[in-house]
């Protein structure tokens, strides 16, 4: 009953959304070169199904690679800033400044720096755009650990590493996963930014770009939907991992 509801409610919402979209295009009589409707998407997917699979896979693995890099680097940076006040004071302005730079401006720089290295370029942008929330959340999680938590173990002569492993790390996991959910979306933006801008690129971003060049609106919209599907899938992978590793932080309703 409950599982059925969990699936039925979002499905109904999606169907309603598609119907409204279809209706909007139909009511306005918009031709295909102005706005595609959901019923155009099916044929577009069928027509380009091999490209969708190939490019979809490229986008997916490069996003995940960028994300993994962001997790490793973000957690490391977060730990440094969380444990050392000096590091926090030194790195925060740098980090905020870096994060404030629109990544679209970094894309050509990276593309020139590693010319022709599509995979590396794309992964780098996905990484750069997504490590910030992870670093910040881990550092805040660690630096706001109530001193009593540390004292409980420290008064028994526990090492800093033991305190980190037994208390600080698990206690920071909910914040970490919260940030990871944001980072997933950001990483997709990064991947596509590079894929769209880079000439002779790969991935769904490139497919979108070629749809644009050929004024193939159904293809462009089909790419958007494919991106949304990938984004949702990866998001729920994170939710699943969160349930396993930080499920204790979930408030039981009621």
């Amino acid at each position: 009953m409950n599982t059925l509801r969990k699936i039925a409610v979002p499905t109904a919402a999606i169907v309603a959304f598609l119907l409204a979209w279809e209706l909007l295009v139909w009511a306005n009589g918009w031709p295909n070169y102005k706005m595609a409707s959901p019923s155009d998407l099916g044929p577009a997917f069928v027509k380009y199904k091999w490209l969708f699979l190939e490019y979809g896979w490229q986008t997916l693995w490069r996003t995940i690679a960028g994300l993994l890099l962001a997790v490793v680097f973000g957690v490391f940076l977060g730990m440094v800033m969380g444990f050392s006040r000096i590091a926090r004071e030194a790195l925060y302005p740098l980090l905020v400044g870096f994060n404030a730079i629109p990544k679209a401006t970094v894309v050509p720089v990276i593309a020139l720096l590693f010319i022709g290295q599509h995979d590396l370029n794309t992964i780098l942008i996905a990484f750069m755009i997504s490590f910030f929330p992870i670093a910040v959340s881990v550092s805040i999680g660690l630096s706001t650990l109530e001193p009593e938590y540390r004292d409980i173990l420290r008064s028994l002569g526990a090492s800093n590493f033991t305190i980190f492993r037994k208390i600080a790390l698990p206690k920071t996991l909910p914040e970490f996963f919260g940030a990871l959910k944001v980072a997933v979306t950001l990483a997709f933006i990064g991947t596509n930014l590079m894929e769209i801008v880079e000439p002779h690129g790969r991935g769904l971003g490139h497919l979108f770009d070629s749809g644009k060049i050929n004024a193939d609106y159904p293809l462009m919209f089909a790419v958007l939907i494919a991106l949304a599907v990938l984004g949702i899938a990866l998001f729920y992978v994170v939710v699943f991992l969160e349930r396993i590793f930080a499920g204790w932080a979930e408030r039981t309703p009621g």
Partner: protein, 260 residues
């Protein structure tokens, strides 16, 4: 086993942005082995600082803290602590929370023995049946009971309680006092209890030390001669009322509301 605690001419100041903040001023105290000492004093006078010094979490600027005659140079495995905030780990069950110190100190107990020890204490404080619950499923009073169990599970020689009952409602607090009495009858430790509740200090302690305002000195030590079998009713008997009045007077002096 329990150890006597001694502070000898302990002076300490914190370095702050506005310069050094003197917190303890030439403080000397003796707490005999197995005794229960309560410390009361104006807020911010340095009571928690005292606990951190005894626990070896900090070194005093001047003077020595001794446990069993030996100077404290750092944290030691034979200290137990509990605070106003029960600081239970939400991802562990109550039983696992209580067992935490045993994982750190290398008690030489097998996993089963560790569990038995934790279960025994949980039963003693009335948490039988809650071993596998998560802290979020327990009330504030129950969490504090679990925190008390954790503070003594490794049989510490010295137990340091920093306002552990301060955030509880009056009735729960009195229940916890009774629990504390039971624990003390069962376990051997020298206890320092920081509190701002005078009735608590009279009900639980052998002697209550009143600290002056910051920088704290031991302004007055009052022997609580009510015997080990005191009950909550005894708090309303003439001798207890007398002690309470005396402590209250001392606090007023400490707060500077009355000339010494």
């Amino acid at each position: 086993m329990s150890l006597p605690i001694a502070l000898e001419h302990v002076t300490h100041a914190y370095a702050t942005a506005a310069g050094p903040l003197p917190v303890l001023d030439d403080l000397s105290l003796e707490m005999p082995e197995g005794s229960f000492t309560a410390v009361v004093g104006p807020s911010g006078c340095g009571k928690s600082t005292l606990t951190r010094l005894v626990a070896g979490l900090m070194k005093p600027d001047r003077g020595v803290v001794r446990l069993g005659g030996k100077p404290v140079t750092g944290p030691r495995k034979t200290v137990g602590m509990a605070f106003q905030n029960p600081v239970l780990l939400e991802w562990r069950t109550i039983l696992q929370n209580v067992m935490l110190p045993l994982e750190i100190v290398g008690s030489g107990l097998s996993k089963t023995q560790q569990q038995d020890r934790a279960r025994e204490l949980l039963a003693l404080v009335g948490l039988e049946g809650f071993e596998d619950k998560k802290p979020s499923e327990l009330s504030g009073g129950m969490r504090q009971r679990a925190s008390l169990c954790r503070s003594i599970v490794h049989r510490p020689e010295v137990l340091i309680l920093d306002e552990p009952f301060g955030a509880l409602d009056a009735f729960t607090r009195e229940d916890l006092w009774q629990t504390m009495h039971d624990l003390r009858a069962q376990e051997k430790f020298t206890c320092v209890l920081i509190t701002h509740d005078l009735r608590e200090s009279v009900f639980l302690s052998d002697r209550t030390v009143v600290f002056s305002a910051r920088p704290a000195r031991a302004q007055r030590t009052v022997e609580i001669d009510l015997g080990p079998d005191r009950t909550l009713e005894d708090l309303y008997a003439p001798r207890a009322v007398e002690l309470l009045a005396e402590l209250r007077r001392e606090i007023q002096i400490a707060q500077g509301r009355e000339a010494a």
